[in-house]
């Protein structure tokens, strides 16, 4: 087999060249059998670098190339496109990763260089046996599923619908709105959160292109980019939203009272209830768990009084199956559990609130109509201590990361408090203030100067109840003094953590999470709204702590990526798929069971690969005891020769 291979070694600035003698790699590979051209360049991915590859393909009549550079995740596509531009089949281009797998993990140039040579040589051996392939064309479904109905999901759904796409919006709770609907005013402009969000929620319910599925969750996803099959489980709608007239006749008769999660348990609600007056869908909901049993003999009081006939205890949960082209995961955040914060009472002191509870107290639609009152005795607190970084920036005990928005919302809370309680005093304990953003720094400064909030730089070591007050023991590191405050109320700015639903959704969608549990993006800088799985995109606080403007930006960015994907008539599926050698296959079905994508079936006693479903992972090839199945361009023979190249010399 005579091939005409070109080898191109990249310096990656000094990323590779500092640890690997790139010239030596190029020179050595130039001597290898079948290599007719080799060179090195400072940035192979730059325009002149790519042009040099194109020129070499033409000038030296190359039939295959190896680019020795960074990881294929980053630039395989770049250089396959370059090869195609040079007139070569793109699948005759392979990447040798001498950056992540060599330069970055070694210091000793004398040892790293021979390793880089081996890695490159292995790729040369591999490409010698590459087949020329053509991508497989797959039709696309022009329908998008958005998971999570917070501001991220709402913005995504509206943008998509306005661009002409059909959208299915799936929300776990009885209403859309997410955490934003719980907020009172929003920094830095102090505009009312509900006033800016409610119209968008109504728009969602009115848009004919949006199918809204509340009290619903995605239970399974199969298929692949452009052609997902998604099963959505919906709780039984005991109250029919079409019939519910919002008359509120049912709640006074319901004998049950349970904590109201929408008010963060500051108030109670009935088993039949409406989360908010502005809830979308605009309907009451029956909480199956709290209800005495959905049995008219036991209770049935709500059904008796409901004149609209909206209540039916016999409806069943349902499963709906959708064909979907792309998915946006916007499952949001939760607050770090107060129970972990032993120094602040583990959530046992009623007057130690979390940020969202304080939002509810400030909100005109909240439990107190917007008056700041202590939960324990419903009196107005005169000294309120806000503690930033509760659970953030504490790698030893809690979350290592900065939650990014708490400096801003604490400044907002302190400001709102000063506006509402004129003879009160707000204190803020902080580590340092991070107020990057348009108008953000000015907002914090105003809270200090105009609203006379007292900022104390330091941590609080302990909060405990003492004589009807909360004793706050802290330190002011600027004066070096210990500070003790007898507070009436303490508000914790707890860390933002990925919501419980985010973990569940990641599992169902089979997308990665980062070390802190947030949804992982495909590239932290260049692909921030894509997951590593094709066709699944990320938006909002599920991907990392962020405020509303950033969430909205990300949602619209994810939508633009979806539109890019779905505006093509056909998608290209990689042709590096499994191929069965019928003569060797005995039909034992081991590969059928092993394939994680259910791409293999038995046809006439032989394994048959559905090329559109096959992801080329190679699990089948590793399983087959007869070597009857191989992935194209990563055959067992190729792997064997690559190993030999690495071991030899």
């Amino acid at each position: 087999m005579t091939r005409r291979t070109g080898v191109f070694v990249c310096h990656c600035g000094t990323n590779i060249a500092a640890t690997v003698d790139v010239k030596k790699v190029a020179a050595e590979l130039g001597q290898d059998e079948g290599v007719v051209f080799s060179n090195d360049y400072v940035y192979m991915c730059s325009d002149p670098g790519q042009q040099s590859v194109i020129n070499a393909i033409k000038d030296h009549d190359l039939d295959s190339v190896v680019i020795s550079c960074c990881s294929p995740t980053l630039h395989e596509k770049t250089f396959r496109d370059t090869s195609a531009a040079g007139g070569m089949n793109p699948f005759q281009c392979e990447i040798a990763n001498i950056r992540e797998q060599c330069a970055w993990v070694h210091k000793d140039k004398a040892k790293a260089t021979p390793k880089a040579i081996k890695i490159t040589r292995a790729a040369v051996k591999r490409v010698r046996r590459n087949e020329s392939l053509t991508p497989i064309g797959v039709p696309v479904t022009r329908k998008v599923m958005v998971i999570g109905g917070g501001i991220a999901g709402i913005q995504s759904a509206l943008d998509l619908a306005n661009a002409g796409f059909e959208v299915v919006l799936v929300e776990k709770q009885a209403t859309i709105g997410g955490h934003m609907i719980q907020l009172s005013e929003t920094f830095p402009t102090l505009d009312c959160s509900q006033c800016i969000l409610s119209p968008k929620m109504v728009e969602v319910s009115k848009n004919p292109r949006i199918t809204l599925m509340t009290s619903s969750e995605v239970k399974s996803v199969s298929g692949f980019v452009g052609n997902f099959k998604v099963k959505v489980h919906s709780k039984a709608p005991f109250v029919d939203p079409e019939k519910c007239k919002l008359c509120d006749d049912c709640t006074p008769v319901c004998p049950v009272v349970v904590p109201n999660e929408y008010d963060l348990n500051l108030t109670g609600r009935r088993a039949i209830f409406i989360p908010y007056a502005q809830a979308i869908p605009a309907s009451y909901t029956l909480d199956e768990e709290a209800c005495l049993g959905l049995n008219p003999v036991v209770c049935g009081k709500c059904k008796e009084v409901c004149e609209a006939g909206a209540i039916d205890y016999d409806v069943k949960p349902k499963v709906t199956e959708y064909e979907i082209g792309a998915i946006v995961a916007a499952t949001g955040f939760d607050l770090y559990d107060k129970g972990y914060l032993a120094e602040y009472g583990r959530g046992k002191y009623p007057d130690v609130l979390d940020g969202l509870q304080f939002e509810r107290l400030c909100s005109a639609s909240g439990p107190t109509g917007g008056q700041v009152l202590r939960p324990s005795d419903q009196k107005e607190p005169k000294n309120v201590v806000f503690i930033q970084c509760s659970g953030s920036r504490d790698p030893e005990n809690h979350c290592a990361y900065c939650s990014k928005i708490c400096c801003m919302y604490t400044a907002k809370h302190a400001t709102l408090y000063q506006h509402k309680v004129h003879d009160g005093q707000a204190y803020v304990f902080y580590i340092d203030i991070r107020s990057g953003g348009k108008g953000y720094e000015e907002f914090v400064q105003r809270s200090m100067e105009r609203d006379e909030v007292i900022y104390l730089r330091g941590r609080v070591s302990k909060v405990y109840p003492s004589k009807g007050k909360l004793k706050v023991m802290g330190v002011d590191t600027l004066s070096g003094k210990n500070v003790e405050i007898d507070a009436d109320m303490v508000v914790l700015a707890q860390a933002m953590v990925p919501s419980k639903g985010t973990a569940e959704a990641a599992k169902t969608l089979k997308i990665g999470r980062d070390k802190d549990g947030f949804l992982a993006e495909a590239h932290p800088k260049l692909r921030p709204v894509e997951s590593v799985t094709g066709g699944i995109f990320l938006a909002g606080a599920a991907q990392g702590p962020k405020d509303i403007p950033e969430t909205v930006c990300q949602a619209s960015a994810a939508v633009s990526k979806v539109i890019q994907l779905l505006s093509k008539p056909e998608l290209e599926h990689s042709p590096t798929v499994a191929k069965v050698r019928d003569s060797h296959c005995t039909g034992c079905e081991m590969c059928v069971d092993a394939c994680p994508f259910e791409a293999i079936t038995l046809v006439n006693g032989k394994a048959h690969v559905n090329e559109v479903l096959c992801e080329g992972c190679g699990t089948c090839a590793g399983t087959c005891v007869r070597a009857a199945i191989d992935v194209k361009n990563v055959t067992q023979l190729q792997i064997h020769e690559m190993i030999s190249a690495c071991m030899g010399g």
Binding site: T267, G268, V298, P367, L373
Partner: protein, 87 residues
């Protein structure tokens, strides 16, 4: 639950142990799990039920309806009693 004045419905369960034949229906079917079987015997030699969680009674009167021997009934609490029960 600190704010708002929602009151849970509350009833008082009254048991006539000597009418009980120990079938256990009330214990099994109470939606809020207020009752349990006692260890003691009644005049007929059965274990009658007893109240284990009085505060949880939501006054649905299902036990009253389901008891084959009319051995159990519920009286609805007055307004002020409801208030103290829901605190």
């Amino acid at each position: 639950m600190f704010f708002g004045k929602l009151k849970k419905a509350h009833g008082k369960v009254i048991i006539n142990p000597n009418w009980c034949k120990g079938c256990g229906y009330c214990v099994k079917y109470c939606p809020t799990d207020v009752l349990e079987m006692s260890k003691g015997y009644n005049a007929k030699g059965y274990h009658p039920p007893q109240v284990k969680a009085a505060a949880d009674c939501r006054d649905c009167k299902f036990c009253e309806l389901i008891c084959p021997e009319f051995a159990i009934y519920v009286t609805s609490d007055k307004e002020e009693e409801q208030a103290s029960a829901s605190a």
